[in-house]
């Protein structure tokens, strides 16, 4: 199997040593959960519970209101103390169910494996009912991805185990510790899509993960691929290009080239959902950074507040700090630690005074072209930044601002310190608004 490269990209510092050899452990149960009813791309859920209701762990508390949506479950048992709008890590308000968690949790009884004679529909239904969404960060409802349009047959499933984002090791640890579950989940995904091949792609800096997967792989239709360590190798279009040589057209979805990409963590959740009917109640999160007393890979109930998680890792060492949900290249810095961990949170990165820099003053573009060389979407970030800065919406659209994947490489290399990603994030809604009104 030849690995093709995508153009652009670069090696970024990894900082993965904090947690890459630490076993996944369960976090101590929090006393309160804040569970947003929208944790995915698509329509929000409507609340199924009211203040005062008691809820059991695994009970559905949010019902999807559209096709592109996923149900939400109570991660622990307790009593609903509020159903109200709260700020989430994306910075937006969302309706949340707040649960006072029972101090005594009834252990969930081990469900039986029901995996024999599954049909395609069984798998899709199980995945949808379990509320599985993309766990690599984007949070797209997985069941929707398992039902591509009939005229776009999918022949290849790519399992994304690249984890190219610095600091994060949750996918890495899952691949090392639970390769069978991931491979089994991948095979269900393949069956649901009626695809021929599964390519599990792992960056070559995670040798132990590759070995673990290869040792457990018994499926003829599944290959474990070692891909080069280069940021953003785990970006969907770049990974498809590297693994298959196919290029997804601009604004297009992977279906167009016969591919579906799923994160390795998603595959593990699919396995749980299909075999045991277990809803997605918790996820593995890398809690890390120079400024955290004890970095860990934690299994965290959905809805647990960041403050509780950080406390469970020994707290922060110094002020000022920067707490990032996700990794440092694409994650969002938080102003407030009372936001919950959702299904799409891959990591919590805590930087200390030396690295917790605020937005710097920036200069004019000096046209050095470093961003042009490195842009993995082959855009012209220099031009995009100039037109976004001047708020020239039509020009920004012409230079393909909408195709930017916000990987952050341009701003990473910019000698003039231009906040190119922020410019793009501010411009995209304006372009969309302009297109709607025309």
């Amino acid at each position: 199997m030849t690995i093709r490269h995508f153009l652009g990209g670069l090696r970024v510092p990894h900082y993965k040593t904090f947690t890459e050899e630490k076993f996944i452990e369960a976090v101590a149960a929090p006393s309160e959960l804040v569970i947003p009813l929208q944790q995915h791309i698509g329509a929000p859920c409507s609340a199924l519970v009211e203040v005062g209701d008691t809820v059991q762990a695994g009970q559905k508390i949010g019902e999807p209101t559209g096709f592109v949506s996923a149900p939400v479950h109570a991660s622990l048992s307790g009593r609903v103390s509020a159903v109200e709008s709260r700020r989430t890590h994306s910075g937006q308000e969302a309706l949340c169910v707040v649960i006072d968690v029972d101090s005594e949790q009834v252990p969930r009884r081990a469900p039986e494996n029901r995996s024999s004679n599954l049909t395609r529909e069984d798998i899709i239904t199980a995945v949808r009912d379990a509320g599985v969404v993309g766990m690599g960060g984007a949070g797209f409802p997985t069941a929707v991805k398992l039902q591509p349009p009939a005229d776009k047959p999918v022949d290849t499933v790519i399992l994304n185990g690249c984890e190219c984002e610095p600091y994060l090791t949750c996918d890495h640890r899952m691949m090392v510790e639970m390769p069978e579950q991931i491979l089994q989940g991948a095979s269900y995904i393949r069956q649901a899509l009626d695809a021929e091949t599964v390519l599990v792609c792992v960056e070559d800096n995670k040798k132990d993960a590759i070995d673990a997967l290869r040792a457990k792989n018994t499926d003829q239709q599944t290959q474990i691929l070692k891909v080069p360590t280069k940021y953003p190798q785990g970006a969907e279009k770049q990974l498809i290009k590297a693994a298959t040589g196919r290029e997804v057209p601009p604004q297009g979805l992977p279906f167009e080239v016969g591919v579906v990409v799923q994160n390795v963590g998603t595959a593990a959740a699919v396995c749980d959902a299909v075999e045991y009917g277990r809803p997605l109640l918790e996820r593995v999160v890398t809690v890390t950074g120079q400024n955290l007393a004890e970095p860990k890979n934690l299994r965290i109930p959905i809805g647990t507040l960041l403050s509780h998680v950080i406390e469970q890792c020994g707290g922060m060492k110094e002020n000022p700090a920067k707490v990032i949900v996700g990794g440092p290249m694409t994650g969002a810095a938080q102003a407030d630690l009372s936001v919950p961990v959702t299904k799409a949170v891959t990591g919590i990165t805590v930087l200390g005074p030396a690295m917790a820099v605020s937005d710097r003053e920036y200069d004019h573009c000096v046209r050095c072209g470093r961003c042009v060389d490195k842009c993995p979407m082959l855009l012209y970030p220099n031009q995009i930044s100039v037109f976004c800065e001047a708020n020239l919406i039509e020009r920004a659209r012409q230079w393909n601002t909408m195709d930017c994947i916000e990987c952050g490489i341009c701003a990473f290399v910019c000698p003039a310190q231009r906040p190119i990603v922020r410019f793009v994030q501010e411009m995209k809604p304006q372009i969309q608004a302009a297109q709607r009104s025309s």
């Binding site: 997804v248 002020n319 810095a333 046209r367 082959l378 393909n400 910019c414």
Partner: protein, 324 residues
């Protein structure tokens, strides 16, 4: 840590590499030090005085113009002093100080600051200053008359009166050996003193990641090919005049060269053609300066012609940016 956390919020990415405009410009300055040292070695105080005048004028001009526009001076980005040093490199050691100072003043003040500051200038400031003096010949003549008594000389140095290799080449005189041309044959502008020491600086820039090889390679290959085709000695042409300085240091200026890779080839080839045209047809001197400056003006057009298709598209017509 107890109590409230003091949280810093900013936009992603939260990691940056260490490169800054100031560090890069400083590296270019450092890369010019070898040839600067050689010029001082040959021209003694004359060179040192000229360089000092240029650096001082650059700093004062930058501060003056930025103050006038109510902006903070940006001396930290090293671009003003770099322009000053470039202008000094473009003049012979005997140049009256007011001429060099005027070129720096025009380069830093008009070509850079009035254009909007570093990054907004379309023309290389140092070359603009140099060429502006030629266009302002009557003014320069007036200054020469008025300031003649203020001319500063540190006594003659043998090499000051030596014919420049470019003039010798033009007049068909017998040329020095390749070895001498490469290592050092002083006589012309300070920056023409030693191609070898320019190359050492260029190598430093290359390994620091600031020098894109495409522009110098296409200029030099074009000059070599055309002079060969026209029956000239290509090696002599490559080594004389301000071609080495221009190809490695001035045509490669980030701000005033194309940001597309294909565009860099087009830009370099056109400059190469220009240099040969000037040298063999039009004017024996300043061909490199004129060629680079003219091509600076075509940069936006070259970029538009040479845009690459974005990811997932294979034909250039599909690039919506080309609609402009």
């Amino acid at each position: 840590m107890k109590g409230d956390a003091d949280l810093v919020v900013s936009s992603a990415p939260h990691l940056r590499d260490r490169q800054t405009v100031g560090l890069a410009m400083r590296d270019v300055f450092v890369a010019l030090m070898p040839v600067t040292a050689v010029s001082i070695y040959y021209f003694h105080w004359n060179a040192l005085f000229l360089i000092s005048v240029c650096l001082l004028t650059a700093v004062l001009t930058e501060v003056l113009f930025r103050r006038m526009m109510k902006k903070e001076p940006t001396l930290y980005d090293w671009s003003a002093v770099l322009t000053g040093l470039f202008v000094a490199m473009l003049f012979p050691a005997t140049t009256p100080w007011w001429k060099a100072a005027l070129a720096v003043f025009i380069g830093v003040g008009f070509a850079k600051e009035l254009a909007g500051g570093l990054g907004r200038n379309r023309f290389n400031p140092a070359l603009f200053g140099l060429v502006a003096l030629m266009l302002l010949a009557p003014l320069v003549a007036l200054l020469d008359e008025q300031f003649a008594s203020l001319y500063v000389s540190f006594g003659t140095v043998d090499v000051l009166t030596q014919a420049t290799p470019l003039a010798m080449l033009h007049q068909g005189m017998e040329m020095p050996s390749y070895g001498r041309l490469l290592t050092a044959f002083p006589g012309g502008a300070l920056g023409e003193t030693s191609p070898l020491f320019l190359l050492i600086g260029a190598a430093y820039l290359f390994f620091r990641g600031h020098l894109n090889w495409r522009i110098p390679a296409s200029i030099l290959i074009t000059v070599a090919a055309l002079t060969t085709a026209l029956g000239q000695n290509p090696i002599q042409h490559l080594l004389v005049g301000s071609l080495p300085l221009g190809a490695f240091f001035m045509a490669t200026d980030w701000v005033t060269s194309p940001f597309t890779n294909k565009g860099k080839y087009v830009f370099g080839i056109c400059i190469g053609i220009g240099v040969v045209m000037f040298r063999l047809g039009l004017s024996p001197t300043e061909g490199v300066a004129y060629s680079i400056l003219i091509m600076n003006g075509f940069v936006p057009m070259i970029e538009r012609w040479t845009l690459r298709p974005q990811f997932g598209r294979h034909s250039r017509s599909a690039v919506s940016a080309a609609e402009r």
